[in-house]
Amino acid sequence: MEREESKSNIRNTHGISKRTVLFGVIPIVVIGAMIILLLNSPGILFQSSVKPLPEISIEKVEFSDRGVVAFVRNTGPSNTTIAQADVNDRIYPAAVEPNKILTRLADAKVIIPFVWNTGEPYKIGITTEDGTRFEKAVKTAAPAPHPTAQQASTFAIIGTYVGIIPVMMGLVWYPFIRRLSPNKYNFFLSLTAGLLVFLGIDALLESNEIAVNALSSAFNAQILIVMVAIITFISLLYVSQRLIERATNRSKPEIQFNTGYSSNSEPDLEVSDTKSSSPTSFQRQLLVRPIAISMMIAIGIGLHNFGEGLAIGAAVLLGEVALSSFLILGFTLHNTTEGLAIVAPMAKSRRVPIKKLVMMGLIAGGPTIIGTWIGGFLYSPIASVIFLSIGAGAIFQVVYSIGSWMYQTNGSRGLLNNHWIIIGFAFGMLIMYLTGLLT
């Protein structure tokens, strides 16, 4: 029977029998009918007199000369109406824009004309029609930044200090890195991996904190973090492989290369290539892959710095942070190591033109500025969670690339047999931890 069926499959012009099509369609039709039935006649299956509890998320509180503005979202299971607003548990008149009736997941602005004091903590409460009060605590009230040219340039300066300058300074170490012995090179590569692992975990924790504190459970934000990070990881893995593949195929065999490694797994043997006329694919990879890895690191760090910019902008907006020169200094030191992370893989490749280095620096550092703008002017917790998770996924992809690169170039010695690698990795995380203490 089955064989006959498969024959009929083959006979079908599209390679699929009608019966197969039927099996494909049945579940969709049945599920679709169920959805229509449930949506159009609620209570047909479950008759309940209990009205589901409303839920309101206060996602952001802004302080301005109009008073206090709470950005709320209906994250409950059904429509709800905002009945009253309060500041520090004292009821005040307010306006809800655009509408006090919130459909599921709809948002609104609650404007409370309230004269607030800079630097004081406040609790903003929203009461729904059933009398449930939802509260958001603000540690210190500070005027919300407005998207004026002045504020934008202030953010740009902060972003430059925190993102671009430190990354560029890290890149300046490139010539120094190039002169390193293989062991020291391994040390710096694993140091980079350590730095990045720290940054990746930091991004995950940060996004988790936002997910828990600022987002309602309706968003399933914690699983979103994992999901986005994994999708980013596998997508970038694919992209980087394609990038390396293409670069490898393009690189011309005549190129002179001066690498410390070769396929014969003798790491410290100087190969003045005997096979320069027709280098193997691996040898070609030795040339171009470090640059590709560095580019991926730059992209990953760029995404991370974008997240960092979001956090800085949002912190200014939410009044959680008074930007001090000390804080900026901390971020600067912290981020200098990121430049090092970018150049480390290229130490043994052919010389990289300065233009390319600068580009990498901009890719890695520039997003900080964009991040501060978005975070400061259009803060949205869900966007922060998504961007931070993308950053984490990107960073872990880079760590994976560095790891596999070191594994291949180290040949038979393996990764964990080399104490330079272990020390470098630990040292990288430690540096991050210590410079992170400053922020």
């Binding site: 109009r66 009945a83 008149p93 306006a95 004269v115 009398g131 997508s235």
Partner: protein, 384 residues
């Protein structure tokens, strides 16, 4: 190769769906901005606070009136409404007063503008009707339980144990007549005494019970003020505080009184959760009769603090016309609804209301309707 391509396609598809959903979420607010034609002003209750305009909805419990259909009580009606019962006389000459109270616990009513709460009520309102008798009268109160839970009536005052409403609950659908002599004179309260007490009292099963001295009290403009609260989200903290059932009501409907006229307030505290409540009168002092059981005042003051279940009678008159605040001096209570205004009128010709002479007059209907109608007062903002 093809495998990784599938993975990537999957990743891309997921991200597209994801971003579609998130953009949908964030653009919804701008889509729903349609009612931009109307412009309302709000704010400005407090001097120095901004007055703003909005295209959205204004939510302002200090200035908005609840639709009487949904309101848990009409505070202006409740203020001066005394129920004397259906009056008859026994062969030995004792005055008998019959009252009927109907308990219910299934209705949702508006306790503050826009806020609906499952209220448990006597005769449909929080507070329940004010029951008034004279010392020595025989008081008979029939409780009909129209609710879904056991309820009872527990009166303060002197009466036999079986009339105390503690150990015998009235089953849903059942009824029982409580019978006792009104003694001593003073200011009391009644409430349901089924457990958990916090639940039964917190939901609103209470009212004021006044026993007048035989010789009566001096003629005055009399009113009842019952201080309560609502814990609408069941976290053992009150979300609203009121006098006479609806937060801020007398802020937009000031109580009109006459200059130099004796005012008598029967003040009862039935607040749950918070141990102490108080009453502060602006620009004046009052004689305070603790529990109303003496005819000589205990204190001459402008503030009195009452514990849970405590009460007392206040007597005062205003020397100057104008608008005066009265409120809990516990500011949290005040700013969550327990504040109001007295509007002292000077001009005698300006007929405030002829029915202000509400010295005890016997009303023979079951639930007396005092024909005091609240004068139409334009809601005013600000306490200035």
């Amino acid at each position: 190769m093809s495998y990784s391509r599938i993975v990537v396609l999957f990743g891309i598809a997921t991200s597209i769906v994801f971003f579609a959903i998130s953009t949908m979420l964030f653009s919804r607010s701008s889509l729903s901005e349609q009612n931009s034609s109307k412009l309302e002003t709000f704010g400005g209750h407090t001097p120095g606070y901004p007055i703003l305009t909005t295209t959205g909805d204004v939510i302002d419990p200090m200035n908005s009136v609840i639709n009487p259909k949904n309101a848990v009580v009409d505070p202006m009606k409740y203020l001066r409404e005394f129920n004397y019962g259906r009056v008859s006389t026994s062969p030995n000459g004792t005055v008998i007063r019959d009252f009927t109270l109907i308990a219910s616990d299934q209705h949702n009513k508006e306790v503050s503008p826009g806020v609906f709460y499952n209220v448990w009520t006597f005769n449909g309102t929080i507070p329940g009707p004010t029951i008034r008798a004279t010392e020595g009268d025989l008081v008979r109160i029939t409780l009909i339980n129209n609710g879904t839970k056991f309820h009872s009536l527990h009166f303060h005052g002197i009466h036999p144990a079986e009339m105390d409403g503690v150990f015998e609950g009235i089953a849903p659908g059942g009824k029982f007549t409580y019978e006792f002599t009104a003694e001593p004179f003073g200011l009391f309260l009644y409430h349901c005494h089924m457990q958990p007490l916090e639940e039964h009292i917190g939901h609103g099963l209470y009212g004021v019970y006044i026993v007048d001295p035989k010789q009566g009290r001096a003629p005055a403009d009399e009113m009842v003020m019952l201080m309560n609260g609502y814990d609408t989200d069941f976290d053992a903290e009150n979300n609203f505080y009121t006098v006479n059932g609806i937060p801020f009501y007398y802020m937009h409907h000031p109580i009109q009184i006459e200059k130099d006229r004796l005012i008598r307030i029967y003040l009862v505290n039935i607040l749950e959760f918070d141990p102490l409540n108080n009453f502060h009168l602006h620009a004046n002092l009052f004689n305070f009769y603790k529990t109303g059981t003496k005819v000589v005042p205990d204190e001459y003051t402008d503030i009195v603090s009452l514990n849970q279940g405590e009460r007392g009678i206040l007597e005062f008159s205003y020397k100057y016309p104008g608008k005066y605040m009265f409120h809990a001096h516990k500011t949290e209570f005040a700013e969550k609804g327990w504040e109001g205004l007295l509007l002292v009128k000077d001009d005698k010709n300006e007929s405030i209301n002829q029915s202000l002479n509400v010295t005890p007059t016997v009303n023979n209907t079951g639930y007396s309707k005092n024909n005091f109608s609240n004068a139409n007062i334009v809601p005013t903002g600000g306490y200035n």
